[in-house]
Amino acid sequence: MAYFILKRLVQSVFVMLAVAFLAFSLFRFVGDPVSQMTGVETSIEDQERLREDLGLNDPFVVQFARFTGDLVRGDFGFSYRTRQPVAEMIADRIPATLELGVVALLISLIVGIPAGVYTALRPRGALTQTILLTTLVGVSIPTFVIGILLIFLFGVQLGWFPTFGRGGTVQIGGWESSLFTLDGWRAILLPAVTLGVYQLTLTMRLVRAEMMEVLRSDYIRFATARGVPYRSLYYRHALSNTMIPVITIIGLQFGGVIAFSIVTESVFQWPGMGLLFLESIRFVDIPVMGVYLVVIAFFFVLVNLIVDLLYVAIDPRLRIRDLA
């Protein structure tokens, strides 16, 4: 098992290197950092000196080698835009993004799984059709439109929730959390729903499809014939078998939730990594963009690893094969 984890971690280094390389080869097309860092009156000579100081005139390979070399030594560099250490900037923003992602995931599970079970059990019910249709509309509308609609309905018209930001946060160690105050929960709800809508629909449809499949299988028919109570039949026998593929897919999707929270964060001015990344693109802040992409790649690798481990934990057959 330790070997398996180690192997995956070594692989992750290569994934991150590849991402860094791809990212770096694209940065030159993003724009010119120096013209974003200086004012209009800055002379061309001064701009050129700054460009030289930042090493932007070096060949691509040299710049890339310097970036990865610094990363390996734990030096994440300084932002072109704010001059702050990149490691600090990203570390400050990670809690906001992770909390948003986790709450979005929870919402999608808490709503998605029961809704999936219900729609599987009553495939022709009026409520089922309504749920299926609404969620279909939900996934069809782009995230930013959902976000704006929610803001205008619940923030502006009804005034129930704040329209932007994290609300009240508490500092716990180095972690700035909005999950311990009512104000923080009011602030996180709309963005989490916005971010979770897609996951919710996916979970629901997955649970529904799996559940319907399982309900048709022989052991359920047999159990039905034996007179096993419906409650036990649906929730103990059918649902737990449904959950194995669902957990896998949801787990894999979580990496995506973190990475693609960019749009939601921008709409709600949610101070997470995604918002930082967007600001960095605007200012061609290469150090921040580079580190962000590497961190996101690491998240993906980590989430995949956890899913693999969960899979082993859930499915005894994989454990046996691993031991053999």
Binding site: S35, G39, S43, E45, F78, Q84
Partner: protein, 526 residues
Amino acid sequence: MGYTSTLRASVMGAALVAASVPASAETFRWASGTDPQTMDPHAVSSAPVLSFLNNIYEGLVRRDRDMSIEPSLATSWAPLDGENGWRFNLREGVTFQDGAAFTAEDVFFSYQRAASEASDVRSWFAPVSEVRVVDDFTIDFVTTAPNPLFPDSIANFMILDKGWAEANDAALPARDAENFATLNVNGTGAFTLGARDPGVRTTLVPHEGWWDTPEHNVTEGIFTPIGNAATGLAALLSGDIDFIQPIPLQDIAQVESREGFQVLEGIETRVIMFGFGHEHDRLLYSSDVTDANPFQDVRVRLAAAHAIDVDTMNRVIFRDKVDPASQLVPAGISGYSEANSARIPYDPDRARELLAEAGYPDGFSFGLKCTNDRYINDEAVCRAAASMFAAVGLNAELSTGPVRDYWPQLREDDFDMYLLGWSPGTFDMEHPIRFLKHSQDDERRLGSWNFGNFSNARVDELLPMIQQELDPAARQAMIDEVVAISQQEVAYIPLYVQPLIWAAKDNVDLTQRADNFFMLRWVTVN
């Protein structure tokens, strides 16, 4: 204009405001699209930074509500006797936010810091040859040539405390790594930093020992950057913030239709224009004329100018909020040429005639470069212009892109015609002449934004004379000549002056200044 009447009006205004200040404590929340990148007043010369830091730091002079220069840390200034330059008499009894006393040494130190290689504002001090501390409250700025505009040009030169900067290892601005002054402040201004979380929230609290009488009643100012315009509007309408700058044109009706909100409309000093590749031998993006650059012919440039119907643009794209422009600064800015205030009129027939005379009766195609995220409705303006050009036979191949990629393309001469907006940093006509009309001269740092290298010997000759002329009438005559030449030569096609649109709650009194700077010290929450 009656200087005294303005003075009297502003004194009365101040008295009125002072009388109406309620005693209650007020928190004022506001938002803008971009977070100031740094708290260091010399590290980045960008509008978000200079605008924000003007609340914390002060210069020797400052701009009043109407953009006029008034005393700040200097109480008076006068040209030096027997040499070129200015003497500033400094205000006594001023203290920095940490309690340190303000003296000429701080000004000298700030000058050295701002003029250093690590500074992004050093171009302001290009004319300065020497700075001398005469005594604790007198300082001389010696310039290489007579420089009547020098005091105006350093309105954003902010003074920080020498002792504080040196003690905290921030004697130079941070260029590629942070230093103490990136996140901390010590100015003499009306407000000081309460807390700063870059990109998230920055709070300002009043500086109790401020030398001037506060006109505001703000006890805490909370600034949040909100990048997404729709989110910003929602934040205002829901009451989460009190004020936002700017809002998109299309949201004006939305704000006005609601009870309890106001829209502040004004005209910015930014003139939007089209520029030509004067120096290019041939067109880069043409499908029919590849061996020549027709825009080198003044008749073709004039035809292009005649093709633009700026009133239609105004009506359709800007809901009648812009002022058509005849030159590179708006009316009211010093040096504005009244003598040349007529725009080249919209006249498509004349445009076709001129093209035929120049040898292009069927027109030709060319490339038009535009930004899509820099100026208000910039892409729509270019689309409209492209169809107006097409109507006279000038087929513009439009390509638009984000501004972060735009300046490098223009610097590499990768255009046939381009869109540009220019705001005169010194609020004087000399500024666009220096940057946009003088021939490119990297050595002397002139014409650095004259991408197409419009070059006219007489303009080049007049610029230093304008810079040094002390007599206003003689100076204006020379500026008039430059503007006349640019119009005859169609150096640029000035289009319109960009509008400035802010929105706030009804119970807030604030001042919209033409440079788009927001001053917390002019805010009253009722």
